[in-house]
Amino acid sequence: MRWVDLKDSLSNFWFEFRRQKTGILGIVLLIFWIIIALGAPYITQPDIPDKWKTVWIDYPKTVPPTWTGVFSGVKEAPHLIIPPDELQKYVTQSENKIIIDIPYNMEYDVPPQDIVLMNISGKSKGRLRPVLSLKIKRPDGEEITLLQGFKIKGSTNIQIARDSNVRRRVLNWVKMKTGIQIDPNKEFEYMTTMDTLRVIFAKVTPDMLDKPQPLKGEYHIIYEIKLFKDTSVDISHAELVLTGRTYGYLGTDDKGRDLFAGIIWGSRVSLAVGITTAVLSVLIGIFYGVTAAYFGGWTDELMMRFQEFMASIPTLPILILLGTYFGGHIQLWQIVLLLAVFGWVGIARVARSMAYQIKEQTYVEAAIALGAGTGRIIFKHMVPQLLPYAFAQMALNVPGAVLAEASLSFLGLGDPTQVTWGQILHDAQVAGAAVNGYWWWVIPPGLAIALVALTFVLIGTALDRVLNPRLRRL
């Protein structure tokens, strides 16, 4: 085929394809996904795959996206980080005392989840350690001491929301202020399940433990560090994190990981696995089928028996088995290989029957008569005839591969070094996201899988209609 012919057939093809509206939509979607996949390091951060394996400490856990407030009408505190250089502005340092007094304007219906002082490190030469206390000064003039006599050893992060001492102090403070009595059972329940910060940031009412109403206004978060002889505290890297009730475009999961970043990075794996698997399995299938048809007789019989054998193996169970065989996690290239090994079967059968028809054509006979070799006839005369079918099949095979990879990852057999949508859903399932109502964790990855699959279904059906006019159906 000469270059002019190729150009001509391409422009012919494009002329036909242009009229397929669904195909064009598919192409647009494909371009969108390619941009997302290639741009992942620039849209989010480049170190997400490494970071994904860890717990993101300074991020809120299982919180919905920020834009949910627009629909629910409840203003929830967003994630707020006060970086070290800004924090320094609030520090007053004297010889044996460091006071960090951070003003915080609480204007939300739901206050932050937690107040975390990150990367504070204490040094001491003797037995005495620097001691920290934490007070919250409220707009109504009240003051709650949350921590007192907290010894700083080495480099630590100080969280308060789940601390039982803090809870006890808050409970005592509430009892003192409202004068309510709490029976011991109830008190135990509060000690384990209380949303501490909601109470701290609530109006003083008798039912503030059960139905806290937010008290808006300016609060002061005051850390006081007492220094003794031979002790010192380094707060130059310290930062304050007011863990939000909402985060980012798509919220976070139970390890605090930003799901938006996960979705963006997951597109890479999905596209790569889907496309490579589809191309590989279609190529194998076409060659297998053509070879079987070309040789015919016993070879054909044997090859078809093997094809039957492959077809009758239940794919998913065997993939799971192989997953366990590989030590519980299948690497990405192994997934591609395995899916290709099981993916060519159906195509081989169709390719064989198509090749049988082609074999009877006079030009193949002519080629044989001219003494052309097996390879030449198969590759030069028979396979090109099947290419239109092959291209359409490649596109139509991508969704299956994408779904299969997602399914394996969903079962927890995926590649742990990669961020994949299936794994995000696996984590969601493990955390019971569906029954706990963490919709932002369940919906986006599945939608993304469905959208990638849809992209290729659209392209594939349009290609099928253009390239295989015999099958054209109005």
Binding site: T22, R305, E308, F309, A311, S312, I313, P314, L316, P317, I318, I320, L321, L322, T324, Y325, P399, L403, A406, S407, F410, L411, L425, A428, Q429, A433, A434, V435, N436, G437, W439, V442, I443, P445, G446, I449, A450, L451, A453, L454, V457, L458, T461, L471, R473, L474
Partner: protein, 349 residues
């Protein structure tokens, strides 16, 4: 070649394939399970030792005792035999339908593999086969309807719906259904385990309520694809000459579609029906785990997770056997449905 001979050849063929698959699975899984078994034996022996010491009957020669116990368990789990012997042993037993017992009871107290399958299969039939029947009926009706009015709004809407629903992972849709209908709206229970305290009619209502979400999920994800394939097959058939002839004869349109076209389009549709009905017996590993449905797929998953060689072998054997049965039934039914592919005596008619 007569039909009987043809059938026998097909059957022998299927049996060969079945044996090879069993052998391969056996080879694979015996290897997987070996490591796990070894560590389990170590644990068992350690636990035994602990309990003996607690009762003050600690063996005098600890290493000798341990070796003796380990050897006992290795013999019990056939680990003292060479790898290939075990592969052949499990394959042979499975092929002769002797599925054996599991080491740890599944579904409460059941250890016999055949009984476990007998417990799980009806549940899977209740869920997947009934869902599949709904899918087939719905898909056929909608597909034929769409083929009747090609290019109409209904046809286009159905095509788009089919393309979209086939792209959805079924298990994800199940999670969504749970999220919306079980969590947000609270219409249906989130767990598939029926309430053991209910009996009689209340029990039936309870089970039905628990079935709604999974069945809805399966039907929603699958019916579009069915409808679309039916539509495509029907359209190709409707373009054939004999349809035109029938119409020209003045045969009523209803009869043309259901009598002539659908009959001619039957072979591929029947094949699809056979395969999906038989395939539904295997359940779906992931969908069942999402809904916590204790059917075949769930058992398979548990079996692989706990390295129950016997159970995995039995389940694989059954699903492969079902698939091959499907192939043979489809082959035979082709002969009855399509006169062009008849073999044997009926071909001479």
């Amino acid at each position: 070649m007569g039909l009987g001979k043809y059938l026998i050849i097909r059957l022998i063929n299927a049996l060969i394939v079945l044996s090879i698959v069993t052998l391969v699975v056996s080879a694979l899984f015996v290897k997987v399970a070996e490591k796990d078994l070894q560590s389990r034996i170590q644990e068992l022996v350690n636990a035994e030792y602990q309990s003996l010491t607690q009762r003050g009957r600690a063996p005098e020669n600890v290493t000798a005792w341990q070796e003796e116990r380990i050897a006992y368990y290795r013999h019990l789990y056939k680990l003292d035999k060479p790898y290939w012997w075990r592969v052949l042993y499990y394959a042979k037993r499975t092929i002769t339908l002797d599925f054996g017992n599991t080491r740890v009871p599944i579904f409460g107290t059941e250890r016999n593999v055949k009984n476990i399958i007998a417990l799980a299969l009806p549940r899977t039939i209740l869920l997947f086969t009934s869902a599949q029947i709904i899918v087939i009926i719905l898909g056929l009706l909608l597909g034929v309807k769409a083929a009747q009015m090609v290019g109409s709004v209904f046809d286009r809407a159905l095509s788009i719906l089919a393309l979209v629903t086939t792209s959805i992972p079924m298990w994800w849709f199940g999670m969504m259904a749970l999220l919306i209908f079980a969590f947000k709206l609270g219409w249906f229970p989130a767990n598939s385990m029926p309430d053991p305290n209910l009996t009689g009619f209340a029990h039936v209502v309870d089970v039905v309520r628990r079935l709604v979400l999974p069945i809805f999920t399966i039907v929603f994800v699958l019916f579009g694809g069915w409808a679309w394939v039916t539509r495509n097959i029907m359209i190709t058939t409707m373009q054939e000459d004999f349809i035109m002839a029938a119409r020209a004869k003045g045969v009523p349109e209803r009869k043309v579609i259901y009598g002539h076209a659908l009959r001619a389009a039957a072979p591929p549709i029947v094949t699809m029906t056979i395969f999906s009905l038989l395939g539904s017996l295997g359940g779906a590993i992931i969908t069942e785990s999402v809904f916590n449905w204790p059917g075949m797929g769930r058992v398979y998953w548990i079996a692989i997770q706990t390295n129950e060689v016997n159970l995995v072998m039995g389940l694989t054997f059954i699903s492969v056997a079902l698939y091959l049965t499907g192939v043979i039934i489809a082959d035979i039914s082709y002969g009855f449905l399509d006169p062009r592919v008849r073999v044997g005596a009926s071909a001479r008619m």
